[in-house]
Amino acid sequence: MPRTISRDTISLALTGSGGTGMLTAGDLLLRAVARNGLYGLLTRSVGPQIRGGESAALLRIAHYPLETHDDTFHVLFAADWKNFDRFVGEIHLDEDVLVIMDEAARDVPAVVEETSGEVFRLPLHATAKETGGRVNMVGVGFLGRLLGMGKEELADIIRWFFSRKKRDRFIEPSIAAMEAGFDLAAPHVEKGALLAAPSATERAAAKNRWLISGNQAVATGFLQAGGRFAAGYPITPATDMLEWLGPRLPKFGGVLVQAEDELAAINMVLGASYGGLPAMTATSGPGLSLMVEGIGLAVAAEIPALIVDVQRIGPSTGIPTKSEQGDLMLAINAAHGDAPHLVLAPDCVTDCIRTTAWALHLAERLQCPAIVLSDQKLGQMHSIIDAIEMPPWKAGRKVQERCEGDYARYSLTDDGVSPMALPGTPGCMHTIDGLEHDEHALPSSRVEDHAAQLEKRRQKLFLMEDWPDEDMTHWADVQGGGEVAVLTWGSAAGPAREAVRMAAEEGLHVKHISMRLLFPPQRKRLSKLLDGVKRLIVVEQTHSGQFLHYLKSWFDLPEVVISCRRPGPRPITPRQVLRALREACRITGKEIERVCQ
């Protein structure tokens, strides 16, 4: 690879069969990067096997905040080539990718022959063996040095890592292997490091950064907004959110229950919320499918609840460890009957904190379920972000403190929200019901009651369109301007934001709108944002264009709409969006709904 020192971003893929510890190596390098004041993100590409399958740590580092992977990987560190073919389709290697591999490796793939970059054939395994450590630690030393990290800071991180896991006996051999790898890199750093070294200012900023995953950020937003009860059933890729939240909730006076299934989880959440506590569950597509009946009950009985769906590839069991945005229609249309509810989506790791807090606030305020759509990419992305001020939104519902005489749980009010009497409130006793009911919560099959309650439940949500702008600042993120706009939701915002920045460097000025509140649809607000926009690019990670169809059914769109979409597991990349932007800027006349891949 024709190496130059002045790269401001670099992407590395660390691959090997399961058990070579590549994921750990990625974790350690990301932490080293963070302590140096650089930005970075780490995702894992793993197969569904518990052990022994393919695994790759995908690491991107930069001098500026990152939300997404780059289009290509510049460095490939291969502990071995077993199962490399299983995920090479997701990882686009740069044409002059630098390959670091074991000199004795077998099954060397064509990429090694094809690259116009350098190939380092090194005694990786032999070095590991000599030191008594493992090959991943050799990699940490070698790559750490190429990235400009110091030997001692890498050793510090190894110590921190193993002592935290109470595996102190691994510390010394791991440091020895790292140091051997560090030394092995000596001849290769003469041409310069892979990345420009951080400045003193950057280094000083390290203490104002967080190393956090999207799943942790969602749980943090829940706690920040006052969440107290959680129930869930293990499911990839949401489990680590429950595992992170479980031991932390009791400090906040809360509790997490591992339920027997998702049906139990959502119903436990409804029970706790009926008792007055802000409550959540986290799941993925298959679990959301099971929770749909409970979500309908929460709509009908007007019970606040937060349901986080960390989307994975569907349908059915799909590809559990990989990302897609294919649950959008399920989330919006969840539950039989007319069952309007909130659907929101965080659009980057940092925003997972904010959007989750806002979603819980809205669910409580509007007494209805809120589905938060994260995905595997956001949820399991470990990211170095700037520390933020915690968002202001808190859970809090309109409560009937006491009753004198008549209490109507579902009274018809101007804003559609009726005060909720919590169990324990004297004089307000009533039975909430999934049966259609009258204002007093008594079962009713009368035409008038059904019409009135349907409208009450619709109205309280759709009135959000008329809320003052200052209460709705978080509904969408808007950057840039111009006649061409790119519209995204969820994790597709990351590559779109980067594409918009690259386009600006080319002199193409476009607008980016990232929608965080998907339901109820903010028609007037989006119209305002689309005012003057002549061409719209809709970016999403689905095969069928779910977001496009949602937009077409609720909004007035510009004449030219280009759908830029692809299913997982190949991620949406900045340059894929950039190509669509360039094309949109060239189009003349009406060309409705072109699809770019």
């Binding site: 706690l223 400090k251 906040f252 809360g254 029970g271 706790a272 004297p426 999934g434």
Partner: protein, 278 residues
């Protein structure tokens, strides 16, 4: 201000007219619950009754307590969530044999294991009444109906055995026609610290008219508290099918419920966020 006690049994009734058929055993269950609660002096607002779907599911609305009429089969997880979130409440779950032993069977097993401090009353009439007469999980193998003319041809679920095998800490069977025994049994179940099952023989005069004979056939007090789970199981197996009593009660640890936060919310949050600094 909580309510002034004492209240009478009738004070626990809401006055809403039940949808149940004349002669339905569920009237007896309703009466027995109110007769159990009144002498305990529980303020009505401190009691929450959670139900699923079916004839049994209507019972919360007939009580003057708080109530939650939810989904078919899911009364137990709702009740569990409510109790763990609000340990101050007295929580009673109610369901039918189909509700609890069929569509909600998984929750039944795992609620027995989890042992939240709630009481479950199962109104067992061995038939799906609300859908007009299909066999339920407690129906006899030869109970012939249009949907299964030969009968279900499967052994019925034995709820008491299932509860014992799953670790329930209080297991009893009552009969809606034996009010005094049933009211005392429900009271003991509510007072029991942990998960308590009271299965109640509750005849369906409409779809199981032969059950109107239960009045003569049920043998009260046959099931007596056993000293071990093995003995309790043996008693359930050897006792006549239509026998009642408390067969098992034991102390067991309760699941974790919510508590007071360990400090100021902002300080807790700062501590949490410090964990993200690399």
């Amino acid at each position: 201000m909580t309510e002034q006690t004492p209240l009478k049994a009738k004070d626990y009734k809401s006055g809403v007219h039940p949808v149940w058929c004349p002669g339905c055993g569920d009237f007896g269950v309703l009466a027995a619950i109110t007769r159990a609660l009144a002498p305990m002096g529980l303020p009505r607002e401190q009691v929450a009754v959670v139900s699923g779907i079916g004839c049994s599911g209507r019972i919360p609305a007939y009580l003057a307590t708080y109530g939650f009429h939810g989904l078919h089969g899911r009364a137990l997880p709702v009740a569990t969530g409510l109790k763990l979130a609000r340990p101050d409440l007295t929580v009673i779950a109610a369901g039918g044999d189909g509700d609890i032993y069929s569509i909600g069977a998984a929750h039944f097993v795992h609620t027995c294991r989890r042992n939240p401090d709630i009481t479950l009353v199962v109104m067992d009439n061995r038939v799906y009444g609300m859908t007009k007469g299909q066999p339920s999980p407690t129906s006899e193998p030869d109970f012939a109906t249009p949907i299964q003319p030969e009968g279900p041809e499967m052994p019925p679920v034995n709820g008491l055995l299932l509860a014992l095998a799953s670790g329930a800490s209080f297991v009893a069977r009552g009969f809606s026609g034996h009010q005094e025994e049933l009211a005392a049994m429900i009271r003991a179940a509510v007072e029991h610290p942990g998960f308590a099952l009271v299965e109640i023989l509750s005849p369906c005069p409409t779809f199981r008219p032969e059950q109107t004979h239960w009045k003569r056939e049920v043998q009260a007090g046959v099931l007596k508290p056993a000293a071990s789970v093995q003995e309790a199981m043996a008693r359930v197996l050897s006792a006549p099918e239509l026998s009642t009593g408390i067969v098992w009660q034991a102390g067991r640890a309760l699941p974790h419920a919510v508590s007071e936060p360990s400090g100021d919310g902002d300080a807790l949050m700062r501590e949490l966020l410090a964990g993200f600094v690399p």
